[in-house]
């Protein structure tokens, strides 16, 4: 399966992104890593160009909070993204926050899977389960 990944906005925390690339590859995904400093439109555009089924966004400095609000609006402009699985992880708020508030908020923004301060492997297991369930459905 094809996955587009990267770190959103002006965020330059690169370590998790590198690990993400390695883990996804090890799990057999075809990875298109847009790296740090990637804008929302570039993520969607990369999905269109590659035909990826999964979009996996990281945010470490918490900027995603701001971008999240624009996801639905921007995604609606694309005519071919209806079946895209969208996942986001990292530090999903600025300062402290708890997952009970954060997860529903991001689901409302249009993400299917939300991992606030969840480690990479746990998150990728969640992704695999999600894909399995949706194949059956």
């Amino acid at each position: 399966m094809k996955v587009v990944t990267g770190v959103i906005g002006n965020d330059i925390h690169v370590v998790a992104n590198r690990l993400m690339d390695l883990s996804l590859n090890a799990r057999g995904y075809e990875v298109f890593n847009l790296g740090v400093n990637t804008y929302l439109e570039e993520f969607f555009d990369a999905v269109v160009e590659t035909g990826a089924e999964i979009l996996l966004i990281s945010s470490l400095n918490g900027e995603a909070e701001g971008w999240g609000r624009e996801v639905k609006l921007l995604k609606a402009k694309y005519k071919t993204l209806d079946n895209l699985t969208m996942m986001i992880g990292g530090n999903l708020t600025v300062g402290s926050g708890n997952a009970e508030d954060i997860v529903p908020r991001y689901k409302n923004y249009g993400f299917d899977l939300v991992c606030h301060q969840v480690d990479l492997n746990t998150g990728l297991d969640m992704l695999e389960n999600y894909i399995q369930e949706h194949k059956q459905a």
Binding site: K2, E41, D45, A46, V48, E49, T50, G51, T80
Partner: protein, 404 residues
């Protein structure tokens, strides 16, 4: 200086523009206004025959920018990748992009009435076929174009080629990692541009005096950029503005763009086809009239809009100052045209072309400071370097002459 054959003949370098031509030898540079009642060759021989006749045809090197370049319409899948990559390649090949179309919305775009020199279709990595359906054919059928080239995903190539007449298929400009592949499209477009220059009757005539290939001036200029520090006090990143009679060319350091494109070349180029101070004067004035700050610039220069109708040295000067301002606007967030440069990070601006014969450093610095104040709200002051002696062109032309 030694050429490839080991001889050390002196070279004669000639640059034909839409308004002036320049003739450069080791000792001097002559510049002449073109006489439009004469063929270029006749005009040249009339004004400089003594100089030209001193040289063997193999030692004469000519470049030309007299035709303002070709136009393209690009159809792609997204702004960030296919359109951006193709646009970048087109600019570097000296081609002007007149329209960029996102394929999914193709039915919403109007059809340009002008003849398009080349249509480019691009989009998708090779493992992502099935992107272009009959909406593409319908749109293309309504266009008026001379050439059409496909540089998108592999699987769609055959199908489109079977439906679109005379479609040339070249390798994808997007590789399997979503990175740009410039080579093939760039070579194709460069050749088209080259053929266009050579195809012009009066340029063909010039082969009577030269045994070398005639190149486009922007290429020659681009060649000189890596060497520019040797001649001028220029600090990176910089832009070079070549404001000519018909068009304005901007060459800029790659560091000035926030971009997802990684290429080897250090300098990119963009052409503003309708911004020139003689042949394109009308459209330059039109652009000025659409710009709310141009009026303030006129006030700042202590003239009124009636200057547009004047035919005086003063008017020429103002038009040139206006051209500098408008070009800077085009590349700033104010206009957000095709490339937006990080103008606050820019350390130098190099000016070349006809304007260096009319404006002095103070005139130029005045406009540049006005631009930074008005449009960018900043006191930033890049160093303005004026290439009055056409050194830039000479360096580039020599590079070329040496390569041949």
């Amino acid at each position: 200086m030694r050429d490839a054959n080991g001889s050390s003949n002196e070279k004669l370098l000639i640059d034909i523009g839409s308004t002036y031509f320049k003739v450069s030898t080791k000792e001097s540079i002559e510049q002449h206004f073109r006489d439009f009642n004469k063929q270029i060759l006749d005009d040249l021989m009339h004004k400089c025959s003594d100089t030209v006749q001193r040289f063997e045809s193999n030692d004469i090197h000519i470049c030309s920018s007299a035709n303002g370049g070709l136009s393209t319409l690009i159809i792609g899948l997204t702004h960030s990748y296919s359109l951006k990559y193709a646009t970048n390649i087109a600019y570097n090949a000296g081609i002007n992009v007149i329209e960029s179309i996102i394929f999914q919305d193709i039915e919403d775009y109007s059809i340009p009435s002008d003849l398009i020199d080349v249509v480019i279709i691009v989009g998708g990595i090779d493992s992502n076929g099935g992107q272009f359906d009959e909406r593409l054919d319908n749109y293309i059928a309504k266009l008026n174009y001379s050439n059409i080239v496909y540089v998108g995903n592999g699987p769609d190539a055959m199908a489109i080629a079977s439906r679109v007449d005379k479609l040339l298929v070249l390798p994808n400009v997007i590789d399997d990692r979503l990175h740009i592949v410039e080579t093939h499209l760039k070579e194709y477009l460069t050749n088209l541009y080259q053929q266009d220059i050579e195809g012009k009757e009066d340029i063909k005539d010039l082969y009577k005096i030269t045994g070398n290939q005639i190149y486009s001036t922007p290429y020659v200029v681009n060649k000189s950029l890596p060497e520019i520090n040797a001649t001028f006090a220029v600090t990176d990143p910089f832009i070079l503005l070549d404001i000519g009679g018909a068009t304005t060319d901007v060459h800029y350091s790659k560091d000035l763009v926030r971009d997802n494109i990684v290429t080897e070349q250090g300098h990119d180029r963009i052409v503003f086809k309708k911004l020139g101070v003689f042949k394109s004067r009308e459209s330059l004035i039109f652009t000025a009239e659409q710009n709310e700050f141009a009026y303030e610039l006129l006030m700042h220069l202590k003239v009124t809009e009636s200057i547009y109708k004047e035919n005086s040295d003063r008017a020429t000067k103002v038009i040139m100052q206006l051209a500098i301002f408008l070009v800077l606007c085009e590349m700033s967030h104010y206009r957000a045209a095709n490339v937006t440069l990080k103008l606050l990070a820019m350390n130098s601006i190099v000016f070349t072309g006809g304007i260096t014969k009319v404006l002095n450093v103070a005139d130029i610095e005045d406009v540049v400071a006005f631009f930074y104040r008005k449009i960018l709200n900043s006191d930033h002051k890049p160093a303005c370097v004026v290439d009055t002696n056409y050194d830039i062109w000479t360096i580039g032309a020599k590079e070329y002459a040496l390569c041949q």
